[in-house]
Symmetry: C2
Subunit: 196 residues, 2 copies
């Protein structure tokens, strides 16, 4: 029955209240995880044909649409901060929230979320690269706004995001140029100086 999914859909409205550290490019306010998820789906749609058209686009889009829903319970964890018990909190969140769906959809969505988290398939690696690339593009466009607020260093960004190069050397090159500019301009701190 179609109506059986309505409680889940209304529960997922709460993702629009989960605030991330990143600001959309050109904005004075932070973005929420729902609009972030839309951006990643759009980015994937535009990049898959340029990077690897053999990828399963549908699975990537589904993963990106779902990937942050666990934050409704677990909150957004800043990627440069101590991750604490994030994995455990998110697992419980997935059980509760996807558990609101009929069994077939619960199994599908849980599987897609786990695939994204593990990042071991080609599609999951690509989806994870989108999740890394987008805030780098946004922060560069915003002259480092969120990096400066949180004292993020060039080395931290390189350590977390270098994996983008495994998905596309050309995409990583374009991002790397922006990161180099960010360090030159002082939008990223030099070295690995800051413990968040």
């Amino acid at each position: 029955m179609p109506a059986s999914v309505i409680p889940f859909i209304l529960e997922c409205e709460k993702l629009k209240a989960i605030e991330r550290r990143t600001y959309p490019a050109g904005f004075k306010r932070r973005e929420n995880s729902a609009e972030h998820s839309w951006s990643l789906a759009l980015l994937a749609m535009t990049l898959i044909p340029k990077i690897d058209p053999s990828l399963d686009t549908l699975r990537i889009l589904k993963m990106l649409i779902l990937h942050d829903i666990v934050e409704i319970d677990a909150g957004d964890t800043f990627c440069y901060a101590d991750q604490g018990d994030k994995a455990e909190r998110e697992k419980l969140a997935a059980q509760r929230i996807f558990g609101m769906l009929p069994a077939d959809l619960c199994a599908e969505f849980t599987g897609l979320w786990e695939e994204f988290e593990e990042g071991s398939t080609m599609e999951a690696a690509f989806a994870n690269a989108m999740d890394r690339a987008m805030p780098l593009l946004q922060n560069h466009a915003n002259q480092g706004l969120s990096w400066i607020e949180h004292g993020v260093s060039f080395d931290q960004v390189m350590a977390r995001n270098g994996k983008i190069g495994n998905v596309s050397a050309e995409l990583w090159k374009a991002i790397r140029e922006r990161l180099d500019e960010a360090m030159e301009k002082g939008w990223l701190k030099k070295g690995d100086s800051h413990a968040l």
Copy 2:
């Protein structure tokens, strides 16, 4: 080149500043068109298996991710208000914004947007039904907040949204029950009394 899509992606950030008339369920603020687009993609993912698994899910998700990008130039037009020169404004917007992409992606995205607007394929009709259904679920969950603000009547809602029944009689039945309750409780005005 992957980097060739970056200007388009950064331009699309502006969709996060386009305010709709509808409030997310349980929210005191209106929603923007980017988070709305995410909701429709999520709703489609959950409903397609329940309504018609033979539909091309990827094309529906792509249409929903793209469908409101034209509002960056053309603005959001309230569905119960005079539509004015909306079609012409949106066409120019599509030319400018999708025109920022390499030719192959520009052609694909323009085609998907036109398919959504025309609504004549099975996939476009389904995507349009998501665009109609979601604000009805949100307004019902919000005890008619946006309907009351704009003096929307039961007859207006029925005239615009009855097409949902062509996509799924069961989904329309579930929504219809909510609309009947909304009229009984005064969240929707009786009759067709209000010219917006």
